[in-house]
Symmetry: C2
Subunit: 244 residues, 2 copies
Amino acid sequence: MGTTQPEAVPEPKYWHLKTVLSDALDSEFAVGEILPNERDLAARFGVARATLRQALEQLELEGRLQRRRGVGTSVAPPRMGVAVTDAGPNRPGAAGDAWQPIGSAWEAPPAAVARLLETEPGACVHIVRRTRRTRGQIVAAELLYVPARSVPALAAGPAEDSTAVLHELQALPLDGQDRSVELGSAGADEARQLDRLPGSPVLVVTTRYVAAGRTAAVAVATYRADTCKLTFGESTPPAVALAG
Amino acid sequence: MGTTQPEAVPEPKYWHLKTVLSDALDSEFAVGEILPNERDLAARFGVARATLRQALEQLELEGRLQRRRGVGTSVAPPRMGVAVTDAGPNRPGAAGDAWQPIGSAWEAPPAAVARLLETEPGACVHIVRRTRRTRGQIVAAELLYVPARSVPALAAGPAEDSTAVLHELQALPLDGQDRSVELGSAGADEARQLDRLPGSPVLVVTTRYVAAGRTAAVAVATYRADTCKLTFGESTPPAVALAG
DNA sequence: AAGTGGTCTAGACCACCCC
DNA sequence: GGGTGGTCTAGACCACTTG
């Protein structure tokens, strides 16, 4: 009896909070502006800080917010469109948007990669580490796995220079490539390169380069999921994608 | 003094927990097996339940675990490879892997979509809702936005049948399409269709279909990020992708 | 009714950034 | 040193599924 209001299913507080904050972000804050701190916000909305944080986490996941320890929470700019299709190791890529080699190694790849490469588990391959910078921001960290058979001009073993591997790889005639995209979380090393905390959500792009019917190389690139929108263009998208 | 071990930077507990659990998953549990409940696990590792949950959330984000309220936490199977490239509205798609129309409407699209469609903000378009099923599982929910000009054979206004819009769209000669992939979180409606909780991470695939130099249609598909790996193949990937 | 994961609280301490 | 977000705790209650 009483006030007959079954209330159906009460929406979780953090969910309601999220929509309220999202609206406020659109109407009352500018990009880059810093929000009040979490303790104040929680008090203002009458919830515990953990609950407020749950809402902030969601908004960060959607690319609406950016949080930096010791600094504060700010309104994030729209996600950058990052072209994936032509960013392969043997396409130098656009001038201002470049992959930068960080180093190289001669090690055994993880089992999953070895399977793709069709190499013996435990066998060593060239591993080139690169980062990708778009408009000044580091947006991705990549590990490029190249089996010795794909770069016959190089002696098996550690390469003196990471660019040598990339250079040899360019000489290889490609049949094609296939790619997959999935959600992951940044490992300790990737997190450092991407300037994020470990565990941050990333988009993992695995590219398999095929030459002469075999897998010539495998690239595993992890993109910041908060700031990036991966684009796969066939026609010319530029203005629209950037306007976001 | 005591044992002089500065311990450098202590790794967060939930991070360490995650790796321990991850190893245990590989070695001691089978796919589909249900883990001990959260309270027991937390006690066993000597942490608060919230901390244990933080580790579980990460593992779920990586597609290692599946949690169902009222049931328990189980070991997830490897992610399904879901082909995106040839799954457009005018490619019927493979036989066993199909989009199923759910309904249609005649409404104004969100502002972001209207911008892509180059229609007036507030103008109505055909909206077709579909779900995609792969191996029996619903993996994606899509909203297909079709402006009236792209389907001249149909009267402007609510379509009697969602298949009519799709049928007319197939008649349109396409110049090409471009796509973007980004991280998002499921809204209340999408969550219901995907059998997930609101806020669950999803991969949002936005496809712009171009005909005669204009945007003919826009599809916004949200894929379950926990169970799906999106594939963009140019060569034939099958066995490898499925073996995961 | 019992057991599960999901939400929420009120507090504490820590790591980091900037002044 | 003072402020920020990040981690952690110990408890409570709720929503859902299953027997």
